[in-house]
Symmetry: C2
Subunit: 244 residues, 2 copies
């Protein structure tokens, strides 16, 4: 899963419409490309950066997928999110200048390295880039809010269904199939992300299979009944009172 690695720099990158260059003029994208270091390659379980390390770069996913997590004082992980191609990692460091989470590769992948200081300079020169940065930051915030809703008031089944839909939409936006894809993360990662145990995730996936809504074969997932999966996530009033 994921784009095959490529050396294409921003003006020729197929992800440019999802990534930093979105909304920029062609010459502005070229300017941006001059500060972006292509590309760092990571193997499965390789660390992109470590929690509390100094943040000198932001990273854009070029291929593969990544997982970011926070380590508690008691040594337990909480997965914060998964990143797919075109998404920006490291934004949580903008306040303190240090990464507040660690990020590792879920599979072989590559990233573009964007020096933070140069990016800030360029934002002053290119208003469109500054706007796009705000948009990207706003997106991160909005998506974190969605996660808060997910963890705050959802049953196990709703969480698992939401997780699948989230991936479905994001793969779809990348031009991949939104109904058939491989999970690049382990059950453990999913469980941790959703605030559940691995057993509960397994059971809910089995349940969804039994209902004919999805087919699961190890890491492989196929969504059979997308509308039904959606109603699980947003149980509308009309679906609850089926009779009355």
């Amino acid at each position: 899963m994921g784009f095959a690695p490529t050396k294409a720099s921003c003006p020729d990158c197929r992800l440019s419409e999802l990534c930093l260059p979105f909304g920029l003029q062609r010459n502005e994208v070229q300017q941006l490309a001059t500060i972006v270091k292509n590309q760092r390659v990571l193997q499965t379980d390789g660390y992109l950066y470590l929690q509390s390390a100094e943040c000198l770069h932001l990273y854009a996913v070029k291929s593969g997928s990544f997982r970011s997590f926070i380590l508690n004082a008691d040594g337990l992980e909480q997965t914060i999110g998964f990143y797919l191609p075109g998404e920006i990692m490291g934004l949580d460091a903008l306040q303190s200048g240090r990464y507040s989470c660690s990020t590792i590769a879920l599979e072989t992948g590559s990233v573009c390295e964007v020096p933070l200081s140069r990016l800030n300079e360029l934002c002053s020169e290119i208003p469109g880039l500054q706007i796009q940065m705000m948009r990207i930051l706003g997106k991160e915030i909005a998506s974190d809010h969605d996660k808060i809703v997910l963890l705050g008031h959802r049953t196990a089944k709703e969480r698992v269904a939401t997780f699948l839909l989230m991936l479905s939409r994001r793969y779809g936006a990348l031009g991949f199939s939104g109904t058939t894809f491989n999970l690049s993360m382990r059950r453990q990662d999913i469980a941790n992300f959703l605030g559940l145990t691995i057993e509960t995730v397994s059971r809910q996936l089995a349940e969804l299979s039994k209902q004919g809504i999805i087919i699961v074969k190890q890491r492989g997932v196929e969504i059979i009944d997308l509308p039904l999966l959606t109603t699980i996530v947003e149980p509308c009033v009309t679906h609850r009172h089926t009779i009355a």
Copy 2:
């Protein structure tokens, strides 16, 4: 609780070190003040803005406190966060241009209204302001991540303890007492924010009282044993294996 309303504009505002002006030159602060509309006053339960309304302004809390929440398709609320003086509201709208949550006043309070378009222009002119905006956005992201950790892997007691500590630190940073304060939100709001029920919050507060860690009297809270409260939030390995 909260600052008494004041008409002071940015250069004279006692919150300037926490708010947008942080890190700016005096003349830059004055420039910023020209675009900030002082001030909109809200009564308890008054809406500052509504979910999915067009976002034309960001808001800085000048006095009082606020609560933001997302309304689900099925009509239930999830409280996303509480805002105290100096904090910026509306950042979740930067992606789509529409607020992704609603925000209401928990008590009588006031806000500074910052037109988004003018702010973007000014960010291009004042590099320090652009940096500070990034810092503020990064802070929002980092604090959202903390909430995700909270909701993902914490027991009811840990959640309530964390909530109290969060408020304690923020009130402290504002120059108020970090150990004695009034909750401006109802139990219902706390419960909803923490992903618990109102009964559970009540019981956990009672429990903490019984242990002599806090004193609760309606909305009033006094933290008696701050260190102990902290160990509840971060149960270190050394505290778990008390004997072995």
